[in-house]
């Protein structure tokens, strides 16, 4: 964007600070904060759907064949559909919109000190396409044959031939929804990168940018660089389904393995696409509540670059036993195990940040620390699966599932709660209730471990995934293993019940909570220098930045924090 255009943009903006009509304020907003809210609430609604699916299929696993309360008898087709769409929803319609789109939209302009995204209308379009994609996905559950049930990885020919999947339009609408969602995030991503790189407040150098913003930007770049092959793959899959091409069908000269490569070339960086925003959010939270400078800001940043770079060359570790040349697996073992190096360094830096701190255990801090704990388990169990020879046994077993949920649950759910409880005062101008927040934290974190730790042991016993009833496998139909399934399901139900406390706390605090000051946590970053909630246009006068985001407890200063925009001669 040229400077002239920027000038016109700001001028244009200055004239539009009068009160907007309801339609333009809430339904068709261009304000980044309102778009962030739209993303967040859409994501939360989708999370409820995804959680409901998890409840139904876990109940079926614990009590096979019995009628599930609030659903009924679960058939194999419905089971497959729910397993598939639970995964799809939680990754594409919860993790990405809430962590990247909602908090990216909310935080990037506020933390970078500008009045809005660089392309506000593109931002609005991005959300609208996202909304359409969510509606298309929901529609796919109700077409003839039901929703798509071929797992979220959608391996063809199962996904490409209606006679095999038995979900003719369900599969097509699923692909369409995913493709639309990618388009939406491509548009959003362009906006995020441009804003963070070109529209920062004067004085904010590259190494003054808060890690939360940095990591969202890196995540978005990873996403945009990796999604191209998958969009091409999705178009090919859609054509295979609807007009009878045979890109993935061996009988017509195609190859199902091609899809696996295209999918996982995107699928693995995608893990880091959702991981990095949460990592960034956690960095900001632990520094605030331990009153410490982030240990090794540059190291943390460079490890993120290294992780991002490596994530492009590890994808075939999902395909060790998929029929690829076994010699190729050795290369991917090396790259996969190497990725533990930057991630471990990053975690070490976070833990080192706590050293010498003055840690206050508020609700957001509990979420951030529990993220580190859970992700540590998720990370180390990944080493088992990165070793190709163990993958010969663990492929598609519950060990994979447990490992995956020990990474994605902390990333998505814990990361989301950390971010919401931390920025709630800024978003809605009111404080959340701490006691209820802590009850909700323990009521989520303990059951979470009780759900997924036992599943590692089911994986050791050789239990394979996506089976609606283990009675057909006598080695797995033992009472001991069934007890574990019941235990995990019971924990899930307890965890879901505790979410009611969160919803109550969230909505009650939004309207009736204690009024929040501008800077309730005494944090340094720019979003805490504006009123809570920030007005349209964010800053009365655009701020100037004098220092990095993590100058806490600087020796010789009375105040233990030092806002980024405070001139050096003031104190």
């Amino acid at each position: 964007m040229s400077e002239a255009a920027a000038a016109i943009h700001t001028e244009d903006h200055a004239e539009h600070h009068e009160e907007l009509s309801f339609l333009y304020k809430y339904i068709l907003p261009v304000d980044h904060k309102m778009i962030a809210m739209q993303y967040m609430f859409t994501g939360l609604i989708m999370a409820v759907i995804g959680g409901y699916f998890a409840y139904v299929f876990r109940m079926q696993l614990a009590y096979p064949g019995e009628s599930v309360p609030f659903f009924g008898i679960v058939g194999p087709g419905e089971y497959n559909m729910m397993v598939t769409n639970h995964g799809t929803i939680m990754i594409f319609w919860v993790a990405m919109p809430v962590l990247i789109a909602a908090f990216g939209n909310f935080l990037i302009p506020l933390m970078c000190g500008c009045d809005d995204m660089v392309f506000p209308r593109l931002n609005r379009l991005s959300y609208q396409i996202f909304l359409v994609s969510a509606l298309v996905l929901i529609l796919s559950f109700f077409v003839k044959g039901g929703g798509f049930g071929g797992a979220w990885t959608a391996y063809p020919p199962l996904s490409s031939v209606p006679e095999f999947s038995l979900t003719d339009w369900g599969a097509s609408l699923w692909v369409l929804a995913v493709a639309l969602e990618f388009v939406s995030f491509l548009l959003g991503g362009i906006n995020f990168v441009t804003t963070a790189m070109n529209a920062r407040a004067p004085g904010m150098k590259m190494l003054d940018i808060p890690i939360a913003v940095w990591f969202i930007v890196i995540a978005v770049i990873l996403f945009m660089a990796s999604v191209g092959p998958l969009i091409a793959g999705a178009v090919m899959l859609f054509m295979d389904q609807r007009i009878g091409t045979t890109f993935f069908l061996p009988s017509g000269g195609g190859d199902p393995l091609l899809w696996e490569h295209l999918f996982w070339f995107f699928g693995h960086p995608e893990v880091y696409v959702v991981l990095l925003p949460t990592m960034g959010i956690v960095a900001d939270i632990i520094t605030v509540f331990s009153r410490k400078k982030l240990f090794g800001y540059r190291t943390v940043l460079y490890t993120a670059f290294a992780t991002g770079g490596l994530s492009f060359v590890v994808w075939a570790h999902h395909q060790f036993v998929a029929g690829i040349d076994p010699r190729m697996a050795n290369v991917f073992v090396v790259t996969t195990v190497l990725i533990s190096i930057p991630i471990a360094e990053m975690l070490f830096s976070y833990i080192a940040t706590l050293y010498g701190g003055s840690i206050e255990y508020t609700t957001p801090m509990l979420w951030a620390l529990s993220f580190l704990f859970a992700f540590l388990i998720g990370g180390v169990t990944g080493i088992y699966l990165g070793a190709s020879a163990l993958d010969v046994y663990f492929h598609d077993s519950y060990f994979v599932l447990a490992h995956f949920h020990y990474t994605f649950f902390p990333i998505t759910i814990i990361g989301m709660f950390a971010a919401i409880t931390f920025w709630f005062p800024k978003m809605f101008g009111r404080m959340m209730n701490e006691t209820l927040g802590k009850i909700h934290f323990w009521g989520t974190f303990i059951p979470f471990n009780c759900i997924f730790l036992p599943l590692f042991f089911l994986g050791l016993a050789g239990q394979h995934r996506r089976i609606y009833n283990y009675d057909h496998f006598p080695d797995l139909a033992t009472e001991e293993l069934q007890d574990i399934r019941v235990f995990a399901t019971a924990s899930l139900v307890i965890m879901l019940i505790f979410q009611v406390i969160f919803l109550y706390n969230f909505f009650y605090s939004m309207f009736k909570g204690e009024k929040a000051p501008d800077n309730p946590w005494k944090a340094n970053t720019l979003e805490w220098t504006v009123p809570s909630p920030p007005p349209h246009g964010n800053f009365k006068t655009l701020p100037t930045v004098y220092r990095g985001a993590y100058e806490y407890s600087v020796p010789g200063r009375e105040m233990d924090y030092w806002p980024q925009n405070m001139p050096p001669d003031e104190s």
Partner: protein, 259 residues
């Protein structure tokens, strides 16, 4: 550790179990040390009245070494894991030991077909023995398999052998196994294959020489009863004799058997 949950019935099952134990020790120690430091910091540096946090940038060498040295240890341990893994992997997947028997395994929605090459050891000849959902093999003999899929991707999975391999339509994938323990065990399909994925099982029966010949004779004269059907509804006990451990409740018993 794995052998507590599932029998070890092939020649390479032990290698995989050992690899699991090696990795468990390596990452277990790293995990506990990291977790120990983490929990210690959380307790030691909780907020106390009048105690101000220290100012540590983590940019100086003196400070950075605290994250760098553990990190060098991890690089060294990674090399160990990679090396051990590649040794096992090359043995299981990259090399084919000389065969005693050949069997073709075909996955289709939603059953397994097995074609044993019979006495002549060549497939597609008159002495082939075809079975559905039932694979009969002899203990102590090396089997090569040719894995195929008729419609969608399946995965030929035999947990007691520690064996999983995708079957791709349009390809024939070769592999091997050598059973070392007699008995009947599960065959699974471990790749989502559609509506009936949850019922796509089978039984592999590892025979001694005599019982193998007996079963083959039954198949030929039509008195054969499917082992897969016979196994259905039975519950196999877990391998470790956990009844010796005096802990109440089967879930606790199962966890206790690990340690």
């Amino acid at each position: 550790m794995i052998e507590y949950y599932v029998y070890k019935a092939s020649s390479f099952a032990g290698d995989i179990d050992d690899l699991f134990v090696v990795i468990t020790w390596i990452i277990g120690v790293c995990f506990l040390l990291t977790l120990g430091a983490f929990i210690y910091f959380m307790i030691r540096f909780r907020r106390k009245e009048g105690v101000k946090a220290e100012y540590i940038t983590g940019e100086k060498h003196k400070e950075k070494k605290w994250t760098h040295y553990p990190h060098y240890a991890i690089i060294a341990l990674d090399v160990v894991i990679i090396a051990v893994n590649i040794i096992v992997w090359v043995h299981i997947k990259q090399t084919l030991p000389p065969k005693d028997n050949l069997v073709r395994v075909i996955g289709q929605q939603w059953s397994w077909s097995f074609i044993d090459s019979g006495p002549d050891g060549v497939l597609d000849t008159a002495d082939d023995i075809a079975t559905v959902n039932d694979l009969h093999v002899k203990v102590g003999e090396t089997y090569h398999f040719e894995l195929q899929a008729r419609d969608v991707i399946h995965n030929f999975s035999v947990p007691v052998f520690r064996l999983r391999q995708d079957a791709l339509p349009g390809r024939t994938i070769k592999g091997w196994f050598k059973p070392t323990m007699t008995g009947s065990f599960d065959i699974q399909c471990a790749e989502m294959c559609g509506y009936g994925h949850g019922i796509m099982g089978g039984a592999i029966t590892v025979h001694t020489e005599e019982s193998y010949n007996e079963t083959i004779a039954q198949i030929k004269n039509g008195t054969y009863e499917s082992h897969y059907q016979k196994r259905m509804g039975t519950k196999t006990p877990l391998p470790s004799d956990t009844s010796q451990i005096e802990v109440e409740g089967s879930f606790a018993r199962l966890l206790a058997s690990v340690f």
